[in-house]
Subunit: 199 residues, 2 copies
């Protein structure tokens, strides 16, 4: 038996790629199968072919593993705000930022997003974390608006409005609305404008 054959029996490369992604997928599967409370971090790591200690090197805690996409989304939104034409008003700039979201959440990810949301909705601890992520997102957008020269409280209000639009559109998207996310975002924003124009 050659040396090459031996080294092939044992992993050729020391570590399989994308440890973080494997942990995220394993966690979502287990949370969906058994529930969040009945899932142990050791169990997640085992399914991912890793150890518990490694899990905590990638994620701060057992909840955070479901929110790995949050920083990406936040960066995109802030970048979208900065890229909006200077002439655009606060809500128009927010709309431009929201319009970049489908790049992060294309149609292929709809089913996965829905599964993830079902898990979150079923677990108080995860809903709490989701609120915190939303608050951070809203604060970042308010900051981005201020950097465009928007004053307070307009910046905070517009950011809150943007968050509300996202919530509504995202809920429709994972709820099975046939329209794509970009269309839903635009429609929800238009509805908000309609409501604001009334009473």
């Amino acid at each position: 038996m050659s040396v090459a054959a031996i080294t092939t029996l044992v992993p050729v490369v020391r570590w399989q790629p994308d440890a973080r992604g494997r942990l995220e997928r394993a966690a979502l599967e287990l949370y969906a199968e058994r529930g969040f409370d009945a899932t142990t971090v050791a169990g997640i790591a085992e399914r991912a072919g890793l150890t518990e200690r490694t899990f905590f090197r990638h994620f701060a805690d057992k909840r955070e593993v479901l929110f790995g996409g949050s920083p990406v989304l936040q960066e995109r939104l802030v970048a979208g705000l900065a890229a909006a034409p200077p002439s655009a008003g606060p809500l128009a700039a927010v709309g431009a930022a929201l319009a970049t979201i489908p790049e992060t959440l294309p149609e292929e990810r709809r089913a996965g997003a829905a599964q993830r949301q079902a898990v979150i909705d079923a677990t108080p601890e995860l809903r709490e974390r989701e609120l915190a992520k939303f608050a951070a997102l809203t604060a970042a957008m308010a900051q981005g608006l201020r950097e465009r020269g928007v004053g307070e409280p307009t910046a905070s209000l517009a950011a809150e409005a943007g968050a509300a639009v996202f919530r509504v559109a995202f809920g429709r998207w994972i709820g099975g609305d046939a329209r794509d996310l970009g269309t839903l975002l635009a429609a929800s924003l238009a509805e908000l404008r309609g409501v604001a124009a009334d009473g």
Copy 2:
């Protein structure tokens, strides 16, 4: 030595009163002195003259001990909504509900509220819990408005507006604004109305 004297050496009553309140005070003190993370539940219980096990009979977890007043506040707000005259519009009803808050948070509690808020602001885990409590409060107010016949999305928007007003007024109150909480709430609500009337 009489039997009466002996029973006085050892506690006359089996348990000191207000175990829950003692735990709340001990926790706030320790969180303020050493920080949330450096405080153990066993330490809180010890300062309160109880055991760790008893702490968890009164509070679901280490964070919840700072939010014992939340259900009371929520009940008052919902009751205030229900008590507002039927002719009052959504935001006026919310204003009437907010006006009942100073009964729960009178001037004497300002210093304690400020200390508590400083601890919360210094601890991510506690800020997360605070967000959850606020969300619950907002949902309860939206529900109360719906029971007054207010439709969606007006009910949710008015509830969010009420929460924003409370946040602003409360922040000013614990920030040392000389006006009392009732005045601050009314002023903040008036400012919101002003903003809404503009662009």
